[in-house]
């Protein structure tokens, strides 16, 4: 376990360094901190003096070193738009995004597992063929189209659900949560369905194909020969083995889901990191962009670590330490 943690920390550090480097390069190329700091009236000479003072004329590596040093102290720069440290802005927005991703993952899990298993066990039934057909079509529908259709049907036409914003939120130890109020949950429905629709078809197909493969194995045939019940064979013997590859792929996909929040949040005016990211792009708020990259990178690492731990718990042939 100890070796696992150490290895994980080293991996995470490398990943974060790479992300930091990319982030910094972006900032270095695009951003002009002087513009962020001063008005139009400041003369060119004064600007040059400020550049010198800020160390902007130092070599790339020296500046990168300084960036890293500041980052270690939790300083990822200053958002000129919000007039606050970039990291603080992100932390304010993160709960909205994390809750959205969480809700979407839950929807994916609750639908893809039963549908995937059913269509693997009964591939010839109407429902299985229907689900497969829908999921083929589903993969190719872009998320903003799904979102717009959802909004049109459930918000505009039926007036069942709100179509933008997070609704009423509750502050739980600094975490702004929309999960604890009815209004917050109602606001969550459409965005999380839209977000989950990106991955749902993929997961259904993945679970189905893995399950079908497992059902053909010798150990499943042996389980039948032992006279076990169907339920036991499907839900314990086969499902547990199906889960392993699904978890591995699922971890990566969950990370991709975070990236897709940019689109979803924009369509639904969801005040999360993704929405903020697009705004920051429009405003060339480079510090915020870099901070976003770093925080999302960190989320990625956390998610993958959790996935690896779960994998190790299910698969006895892989001790957590050896992953």
């Amino acid at each position: 376990m100890f070796a696992f943690i150490v290895r994980r920390i080293i991996q995470a550090t490398v990943v974060m360094l790479v992300i930091g480097f990319i982030g910094f390069s972006v900032k270095h190329q695009l951003g002009d901190p002087v513009r962020d700091l001063v008005g139009i009236s400041v003369s060119i000479e004064e600007r040059e003096a400020l550049r010198q003072e800020l160390g902007l004329n130092d070599s790339f590596l020296v500046q990168y070193g300084r960036f890293l040093k500041n980052a270690m102290h939790g300083d990822l720069g200053y958002s000129f738009f919000y007039k606050r440290p970039a990291l603080d802005v992100i932390f304010d927005k993160a709960p909205a995004t994390i809750e959205l991703v969480f809700a979407a993952s839950l929807i994916i899990l609750l639908i893809s597992v039963p549908v995937g298993l059913y269509s693997a066990i009964y591939p010839k039934r109407f429902f299985s063929k229907f689900a497969m057909g829908v999921s083929i079509v589903g993969v190719s529908i872009p998320v903003f189209l799904t979102a717009i259709v959802l909004i049109y049907v459930f918000a505009v036409q039926l007036h069942w659900l709100p179509s933008y914003g997070r609704g009423e939120t509750v502050d739980v130890f600094g975490w702004e949560s929309g999960l604890l109020t009815i209004d917050g949950l109602r606001h969550l429905v459409l965005p999380s369905i839209a977000l989950s629709s990106i991955m749902l078809p993929l997961f259904i197909r993945l679970i189905r194909s893995e399950m079908m493969e497992v059902l053909e194995t010798e150990y499943i045939k042996y389980a039948w020969a032992k006279g076990l019940s169907r339920r036991r064979i499907w839900m314990v013997h086969a499902f547990k083995n199906t889960l392993l590859p699904v978890i591995t792929v699922g971890g990566v996909q969950l990370g991709i889901l975070i990236a897709f929040t940019i689109l979803t949040e924009t369509v639904f005016q969801w005040q999360g990191m993704g929405f903020m990211f697009l705004e920051a792009v429009e405003r060339s708020d480079t510090a915020l962009l870099v901070a976003y990259l770093v925080v999302v990178g960190a989320l990625f690492v956390v998610v993958n670590t959790v996935v690896d731990i779960i994998y190790g718990l299910i698969n006895p042939t892989v001790t957590v330490a050896s992953r």
Binding site: T217, E218, Y219, K221, Y222, A223, W224, A225, K226, G227, L228, S229, R232, V236, H237, K240, N241, L244, I314, N315, P316, T317
Partner: protein, 327 residues
């Protein structure tokens, strides 16, 4: 009455381009405590026969004709639910490859306990007690500790012992072992086979031993059934069959054994020329005739029946020529 009686069994696989008849008119019996060998080359239908007994033929195969009587009951007419109370309970199976047979993500204990609890109304603790006893029978050291281990923590030989222990859990009347030692290291094959035989004797179980190794069959079984292209072509007491094979195919098999028949230094492993036909392209007449040295006109046109030959009631041969002065 025999413990197990299979009558005129036909098994077909519904393939896209038509039905493939994998078993054609297969009949045999297995008595209490008897040890029956089933031999034949790859694809002859040995495994399908074994699985047909517990009605567990893989899709798209199914029993299309015939009867399977176990203890006088028609297993072929049992519902899936009724069949489940037979499988792993009264009739246990041992598969070929112990590395593939156990579920990799469940402990050995779980896989033993679940088998018992599928058939007996007992607690987990009681089931574990029985499991430990059976593991002792197959000489697994410190079985209590082993219960909580996963299959990958055991060697191939150990795993096959565990699978034998699982087969013994419910004290079945029949064990069907499909090439139980083929996948194992040569050095432990004999050990596992001896263990299996010893336990069958001690526990009053009948054994249906499927193998393509006639040498093993000659050593351990009392009666043997030779299969070829989905048919039984000869069945006899093992000792009679080995000393005096009658069907030309069986003769070929026996001669191929080291130290038998025309086997000399130069021709140490005499092979039967040719290969078994694909089941979809079986020639009319006797399915063995294209490879048979004694082939005559009748063999090319008419399918031979399985007939009783000679004085032993146990000896049946499916050949036009046997016993007619020609063979």
């Amino acid at each position: 009455m025999a413990l197990l009686e299979v009558k005129n069994l036909e098994v077909s696989f519904a393939l896209r381009h038509g039905d493939l008849v994998a078993l054609n008119d297969v009949s045999f019996t297995l008595d209490k405590r008897e040890r029956l060998g089933v031999v034949g080359e790859s694809g002859a239908g040995k495994s399908v026969t074994g699985f047909a007994v517990i009605n567990l033929i893989s899709k798209p195969g199914r029993i299309t004709k015939g009867e399977i009587l176990f203890d006088g009951k028609r297993l072929d007419q049992f519902s899936e639910h009724e069949m489940r109370s037979i499988r792993g309970n009264h009739i246990s199976m041992i598969f070929q490859d112990p590395m593939m047979t156990l579920n990799p993500v469940l402990t050995v204990g779980t896989q033993m306990v679940e088998t018992l609890r599928a058939h007996r109304k007992i607690s987990k603790a009681e089931a574990e007690k029985i499991a430990i006893k059976k593991l002792e029978l197959v000489h697994i050291p410190s079985p209590e500790r082993r219960l909580s281990q996963y299959p990958h923590e055991f060697s191939g030989g150990m795993r096959q012992r565990i699978i034998i222990a699982i087969a013994l859990l419910t004290d079945p009347a029949i064990i069907i072992a499909d090439e139980p030692t083929t996948a194992l290291d040569v050095t432990i094959q004999a050990e596992i086979m001896d263990l299996l035989l010893e336990l069958c004797d001690a526990q009053d179980m009948a054994l249906m031993l499927i193998t393509h190794d006639l040498g093993v069959v000659a050593e351990v079984t009392e009666r043997v059934m030779v299969m070829y292209a989905g048919k039984v072509i000869e069945t006899a007491k093992t000792i009679d069959l080995v000393r005096n094979p009658r069907h030309p195919y069986t003769k070929g098999l026996i001669n191929a054994l080291p130290g038998h028949g025309e086997c000399d230094q130069e021709n140490r492993l005499q092979q039967i020329p040719g290969t078994m036909p694909n089941l979809t392209e079986i020639a009319p007449g006797c399915s063995f005739h294209p490879r048979c040295d004694y082939c005559q006109d009748i063999c090319r046109s008419t399918v031979p029946e399985l007939r009783q030959i000679g004085e032993s009631k146990e000896r049946w041969v499916s050949c036009h020529l046997v016993g007619k002065g020609q063979l």
